[in-house]
């Protein structure tokens, strides 16, 4: 049965239009807000990742430089190089049989020169790498959903 009732008054057309415009604007603002938050986080994340890459390259470069300088030091202190420098500087071999030139002295606690370390003594472990980051933190939402849909279970693969 069709209702015959009618409102006692109707909204003016401009009010209707205003209401629609405000609704659309509100929707637009919310969408823009979400987008801005998303973009801001994405931008920061991208920036951080780029910086990580740059620092990684820098670290690799420093690592190479350290290895190179260690070897340079090794070259400068190589036996023949030191012998040659000593001779050029006028040093001569010690006559170990001449007690005026060479004497033994007992020094309590002296164990000789060499590499000494305070590092803890432990078995040297084998080299292997396992990520400490759980897979939940390395998957995007899409990847997580995809795996849930295709396999029905959560993936616990260790990333590498």
């Amino acid at each position: 049965m069709k209702s015959k009732n009618q409102s006692a008054y109707r909204l003016a057309p401009w009010r209707k239009q205003m209401k629609r415009i405000l609704t659309i604007l509100m929707g637009t603002f919310i969408a823009a807000g979400v987008t801005m938050v998303y973009l801001s986080i994405s931008e920061r994340m991208t920036d951080v990742k780029l910086r990580i890459q740059l620092l990684q390259e820098e670290r690799a470069d420093y690592s190479r430089q350290i290895a190179d300088l260690t070897t340079d030091e090794g070259i400068l202190t190589a036996y023949k190089a030191m012998q040659q420098r000593a001779e050029q500087a006028g040093f001569t071999d010690i006559d170990f049989t001449d007690e005026d030139e060479f004497a033994y002295v007992i020094v309590d606690g002296y164990t000789g020169t060499g590499i000494n370390t305070e590092a803890p003594v432990q078995d040297a472990p084998r080299i292997e790498y396992v990520s400490l980051v759980k897979p939940e933190y390395t998957q995007s939402l899409q990847e997580w959903l995809y795996k849930r849909i295709t396999t029905g279970i959560e993936s616990y693969e260790v990333s590498n």
């Binding site: 986080i41 994405s42 931008e43 994340m45 991208t46 990742k49 990580i52 890459q53 990684q56 690799a60 470069d61 690592s63 190479r64 430089q65 290895a67 190179d68 260690t70 070897t71 340079d72 030091e73 090794g74 070259i75 202190t77 190589a78 036996y79 023949k80 010690i94 170990f96 049989t97 007690e99 060479f102 033994y104 007992i106 000789g112 020169t113 060499g114 590499i115 370390t117 590092a119 803890p120 003594v121 432990q122 078995d123 040297a124 472990p125 084998r126 080299i127 790498y129 990520s131 980051v133 933190y137 390395t138 998957q139 995007s140 939402l141 990847e143 590498n160």
Partner: protein
């Protein structure tokens, strides 16, 4: 009119709904399409991920003082970007060839290899450019850029020449301790490390390279993995002692025109190897020379890789066995007639002479084969070979050096063994041992009957942790009393003989050896010998044991004339670096009595 508009709107709505449905279905179909899925994956691969190569460095090797023996250095790969290089071959070759010492025509031809995207993009010219060459390249590039500041005026440039840093193995001491260190073939990194520590510890020294898919999606957290560098290894060798030994063996090979010479110096109380030198040698930075420098009869590290018939130095063990079993005493007399017959075969002395009645000291002093054959008969085959087992003869020592070889001893019951084997084995023929095996076995005499595990690694350092190698006892084949008795016998024998092995002001025990060499198909050949000497000291408290082997000397074939003086020279030169005072100084330092002159002969206590 109104209902007409509504119906049109409704039709439009239906049309758009159907259109939307068709679009969704189409999108769904496309998403399921295999080629589209592949394209999506390829796109993801290209734009969403970046494959990052993460590498670590090969561990270093140090001597006991901390001097670097094996490290890593940076070199540069020089490549041409073919897209920019094409058409500029002559220009690039004119500048690049002299800087990097390359053939001009090769560089020109490389630059003209046609650029094909995805096929030929870059062409490597060399992988081993130095820092200085890179600096020179940069100067040349800058000079060209300054000359033609306006890019449009620049007819040609070197922008097509690009370079990347690499890291590769380097041995700063060149040939020092080459036989111990071994090498990593840096020009062929896919090959394995060869010889020595490099090969033995390749798994923990190795650099690791992993490829990591680094996500470029900002929503995907990711991290580039850390790979610790390979372990670093600290050796027990002292490079000064090693250098002295290397110089001495080199001189010995040249003076004696020998095939090779090897010396091992160790601490009998700990089993630490202080030096292990051999000649011929190679510069490890030119490791490819090893292919021509070493042969089957002259190996990379004979001290561990080359068993040989040691000859009379082996009598030290025979005498120790005889004394330990009680078969003889130092004062036991053997009447040498010059011949000792076993199963119809005559055993004779080195000089074919007869030395008459001899005490056991005399047997050792004159190195009588007949006497050794006699005392092993007294000991008996079963006990003799049990002792050899306990001394570790015929077994690897398990020192931390790659490719250790050994030669099993033929024992009673084996088809290779006869009764004559017992006699010949007693004076070091018919069996083979490496110098490191001999050092390990004879160190029991220098360490109160205890054999310590021979080792050449002092520490392994990995990722901030240190594993120290603790000296370990591996056997006690003879009693301490036997060890001291035989040491005293040999020290006396060296003194009486006035051997060339004597060390100035340090009393040592030792024995020469002249081992005959068996040639396949010919048997033992005349005038070709292995001249050896083993010695330890100071006789009253041994701090070192040294084994010298000169292979096939030509000027003299005798251990007493070739190896004994070499031993003496080496010990006199290395004693101060072992912090080993002479006997008189030791007495002054550690007792209240300080002799003012050289010690008298009766200063020592004799057992008989």
């Amino acid at each position: 009119m109104k209902s007409q508009i509504e119906s049109r709107f409704r039709a439009l709505l239906i049309f758009f709904s159907i259109l939307s449905l068709v679009m969704v279905l189409r999108i769904g179909m496309l998403m399921m399409d295999e080629s589209v899925i592949r394209m999506k994956m390829e796109t993801e691969e290209d734009y969403e991920y970046m494959t990052v190569e993460v590498s670590s460095e090969r561990g270093n090797i140090y001597d006991r003082q901390g001097y670097l023996l094996a490290g890593n250095t940076v070199s540069y790969t020089i490549a041409l970007n073919l897209q920019h290089a094409n058409g500029h071959g002559d220009f690039i070759a004119d500048y690049i060839a002299p800087i990097f010492g390359l053939d001009r025509e090769t560089v020109r031809a490389s630059a003209e290899i046609p650029f094909e995207p995805g096929v030929s993009v870059e062409w490597t010219l060399t992988n081993y450019a130095t820092k200085e060459q890179i600096e020179q390249l940069e100067i040349t590039k800058n000079t060209l850029n300054r000359t033609y500041q306006n890019k449009n005026d620049k007819p040609e440039d070197l922008d097509a020449v690009i370079y990347y840093p690499n890291i590769h193995r380097y041995y700063p001491n060149d040939e020092l301790a080459f036989n111990i260190v071994g090498f990593f073939p840096y020009r062929n990194p896919n090959s394995q490390a060869a010889y020595g520590i490099e090969q033995y510890y390749d798994d923990i020294l190795s650099a690791k390279t992993i490829s990591h898919r680094f996500s470029l999606d900002p929503n995907v957290p990711d991290r580039i993995p850390d790979i610790p560098n390979g372990a670093s290894i600290v050796l027990t060798i002292d490079r000064k002692i090693q250098e002295i030994c290397e110089q001495s063996v080199k001189d010995a090979v040249k003076i004696n025109e020998a095939k090779s010479a090897t010396v091992v110096v160790a601490n009998p109380k700990t089993g630490e190897v202080l030096a292990m030198a051999t000649y011929p040698s190679i510069d490890l930075n030119q490791y490819w020379e090893s292919a021509t420098a070493f042969t089957r009869d002259n190996k990379f590290n004979p001290a561990v890789m080359q068993p040989y018939e040691p000859g009379s130095v082996f009598k030290v063990l025979t005498m120790a066995i005889a004394i330990d079993t009680g078969a003889v005493k130092p004062s036991t007399i053997f009447n040498d007639t010059g011949v000792y017959t076993v199963m119809g075969t005559d055993i004779m002395n080195w000089d074919r002479g007869a030395w008459g009645p001899q005490s056991m000291v005399g047997c050792m002093q004159h190195s009588l084969n007949t006497c050794m054959a006699y005392i092993t008969d007294l000991v008996g085959a079963e006990k003799f070979y049990q002792y050899l087992d306990a001394f570790g003869i015929g077994k690897p020592t398990n020192i931390e050096l790659a490719q250790e070889d050994y030669y099993p001893v033929a024992k009673p019951g084996s088809s290779m063994w006869t009764q004559i084997s017992l006699s010949t084995n007693s004076f070091g023929q018919g069996l083979m041992a490496t110098p490191i095996q001999m050092v390990a076995a004879i160190s029991a005499l220098a360490n109160d009957g205890v054999i310590m595990q021979p080792h050449i690694v002092r520490e392994i350092r990995y990722n901030g942790q240190v594993e120290k190698i603790v000296p370990t006892e591996i056997g006690r084949p003879i009693s301490a009393e036997t060890a001291r008795t035989v040491t005293e016998m040999l020290a006396t024998s060296i003194e009486i003989e006035a051997s060339d092995a004597q060390v100035r002001n340090i009393r040592i025990a030792g024995k020469t050896g002249t081992g005959e060499i068996a040639v396949e198909g010919l048997g033992y050949v005349l005038n070709t010998t292995n001249a050896s000497f083993v010695g330890w000291g100071p006789a009253d408290d041994p701090q070192f044991i040294a084994y010298v082997w000169v292979q096939e000397p030509t000027h003299s074939i005798w251990g007493s004339e070739v190896s004994a003086p070499l031993f003496s020279e080496i010990i006199e030169n290395i004693a101060p670096y072992m912090r080993l005072p002479d006997d008189r100084t030791r007495k002054c330092l550690y007792t209240d009595v300080c002799p003012t002159q050289e010690p008298e002969e009766d200063y020592y206590y004799y057992y008989w």
